[in-house]
């Protein structure tokens, strides 16, 4: 009994430690969920908001701007997964063949842009791609080409988005994979070398299978983030490329914050979360089947 009381007393104090964090989560993570109910009202557009059922969702599917945002989100997500996702794996495998010192120098370099804000990264791209004095257009001019206004040309803007995403975050992914590769048992490589396996064969048959679970985790993280992409586009988009770059979250932001249509904007947010959840679950099914890894 005495022991129990003692335990309870201690319990009380450790509980006090967790309270501030719990309050924070309640206020800033769970309380906002209640506002999702505004998706079923005409909140923001009238003085006396009333329950409107699925009206906002009906407006959604009928709105060309929403369909455009949905299409853009899907296209950009697809590019991100197909182009951005494999690059860190490739870079990590290739860095793994370097000497220790060289590897450190390369890692040091490629990891830097990850710590810059999207404003800085977007700014660097804007200045480099500037039609009047950017280095890229200067090079194009040397080859006798007309200068291209990449940041305002809807033919190129998606490329700029994917390119800047790769530029900023390829190093981050690489560091994760290098960490995973460093845990692979080197005896496997020695055995394979004795059996006469070439370097590429070793990468394919030993390294890749051994980092399978990391690949699956990063894939899941990438998939869970693609629909939530926002800050990059919010920083870099302008009106002349809105038709190719307006995504679900930017659309929701502009509808809610600038036009004040809170109910409708919340409905967009809810829709985005639902699609995101479906994607995450399908991705998990995919990794279970193909990569034999269950992440969730």
């Amino acid at each position: 009994m005495k022991l129990f009381l003692k335990k309870f007393c201690r319990q009380k104090y450790i509980f006090l430690l967790v309270v501030p964090g719990v309050v924070w989560f309640a206020v800033f993570k769970f309380f906002p969920l209640w506002y999702i109910s505004k998706a079923f009202t005409d909140y923001g557009t009238t003085a006396n908001p009333s329950f409107t059922g699925l009206d906002n969702f009906r407006r959604l599917v009928l709105s060309p701007n929403f369909l455009r945002a949905f299409k853009n989100t899907m296209i950009l997500s697809f590019y991100n997964i197909v182009i951005y996702f494999p690059l860190p794996i490739l870079l990590a495998l290739s860095m793994n063949e370097l000497g220790k010192k060289m590897k450190k120098v390369v890692q040091f370099t490629v990891y830097i842009p990850y710590f810059f804000s999207w404003v800085v990264v977007g700014g660097i791209f804007t200045l480099m791609l500037s039609p009047s004095d950017g280095i890229v257009n200067q090079i194009l001019q040397v080859f006798g080409k007309e200068p291209v206004y990449f940041m305002a040309d809807s033919r190129y803007f998606r490329g700029v988005l994917v390119g800047s995403q790769v530029w900023k975050e390829v190093g981050y992914g690489t560091v994760i994979y290098i960490a995973a590769i460093s845990t692979v048992d080197t005896q496997l490589y020695e055995a394979a070398a004795v059996d006469g396996a070439g370097y590429i064969a070793r990468m394919w048959h030993i390294t890749l299978p051994c980092i399978r679970s990391t690949v699956a985790t990063v894939l899941l993280l990438t998939v869970s983030r693609v629909l939530q992409m926002f800050e990059q586009i919010f920083v870099m988009m302008n009106d002349s490329v809105k038709n190719v770059a307006d995504v679900l979250k930017t659309y929701s932001y502009f509808e809610g914050m600038q036009r004040g249509d809170i109910g409708y904007a919340t409905a967009i947010g809810l829709f985005t979360s639902a699609v995101s959840l479906i994607l995450i679950i399908s991705c998990n099914i995919f990794s279970k089947k193909v990569l034999k890894e269950d992440i969730l």
Partner: protein
């Protein structure tokens, strides 16, 4: 180990090297150009747009940035918010992560699941804005500190680290009569320096780089951070230094100031960042 240095091996090595050097150049060259252009005199920057090889070093654009009332205030805003917000984030994250790492905590698995759920269940932008608005935090620095205080990933990273600490150590401290808070501060934190450094730096970089929340929660120009002013300067051509045509060297100087803390700390912190990622990926 080296059985044979065959020709195919040499070709492979060369191709590999070219690939890596290309990647490095694509990252390093723009950064180099930004720094060098910011250090070039007006005439050179206006003529060339970008400077690849330094011809003359000139700090005038930096002097202009630091003499400008607007940029200086934004810089100090960023600095103040980063320091305060990081301290607050760490206090909240450390206590919660420690409590969640201890088996004796009541409702531990329930709380842990609630935390994990927030990684997937997201109200979105508008609901968070409404909460902050209802708390009367719009246009206050608090809006840039409290709603963004805890990163769930950082919390889990830290909790996982605390779980690897020997239980006997914590147990004996408590038997010696240390209170929970004292145990955390005196015993646990001193042996958790790597994870504390990593998470502190994650938070500091996040708070320093914050842009969207500032635009959403702050409408008053005098409370803007450096990132907001940099965005206005580069994307909208709006400059706080109105008498001066914003030529590239000035834009680059503001940009370098906006990456300054990261650039200065990066050489020292990258190993902690890497160890942070490793700690997370091994036990994730």
């Amino acid at each position: 180990m080296k059985l044979r240095e065959s020709r195919s091996r040499k070709v492979f090595k060369a191709v590999n090297m070219i690939f890596i050097l290309t990647v490095c150049a694509m990252i390093a060259v723009p950064l180099w150009m930004v720094v060098i252009t910011s250090l070039s005199p007006d005439k050179l920057a206006a003529e060339k747009g970008f400077v690849l090889i330094p011809e003359a070093i000139d700090f005038s654009s930096y002097i202009r940035v630091f003499k400008s009332h607007g940029y200086m205030r934004a810089f100090l805003n960023s600095l103040g918010i980063t320091v305060t917000a990081t301290a607050f984030s760490m206090a909240l994250t450390t206590t919660m992560a420690y409590a969640l790492s201890q088996e004796r905590l009541m409702f531990r698995s329930f709380l842990m699941n609630a935390v994990l759920i927030t990684m997937f269940l997201d109200g979105g932008i508008i609901p968070l804005y409404m909460v902050v608005r209802d708390m009367k935090m719009i246009d206050s620095y608090g809006a840039l500190i409290f709603p963004v205080a805890v990163g769930t990933y950082n919390l889990i990273l830290m909790r996982n680290y605390f779980r690897t600490l020997p239980e006997s150590l914590i147990e004996s401290a408590r038997l010696d009569g240390c209170s929970e808070l004292k145990t955390l501060i005196r015993i646990v934190l001193p042996i958790s320096v790597p994870i504390l450094a990593a998470v502190t730096l994650f938070y500091a970089v996040g708070h320093w780089n914050r842009y969207f929340e500032v635009v959403m929660f702050i409408n008053k120009g005098e409370k803007y951070t450096l990132q907001v002013l940099l965005r206005q300067l580069i994307f909208q051509g709006e400059s706080e230094v109105t008498t001066q045509v914003a030529v590239n060297n000035f834009k680059m100087a503001v940009m370098v100031v906006a990456m300054l803390p990261v650039l200065v700390l990066y050489p020292f912190i990258q190993k902690y960042f890497i160890s942070g990622i490793m700690l997370g990926s091994v036990k994730g």
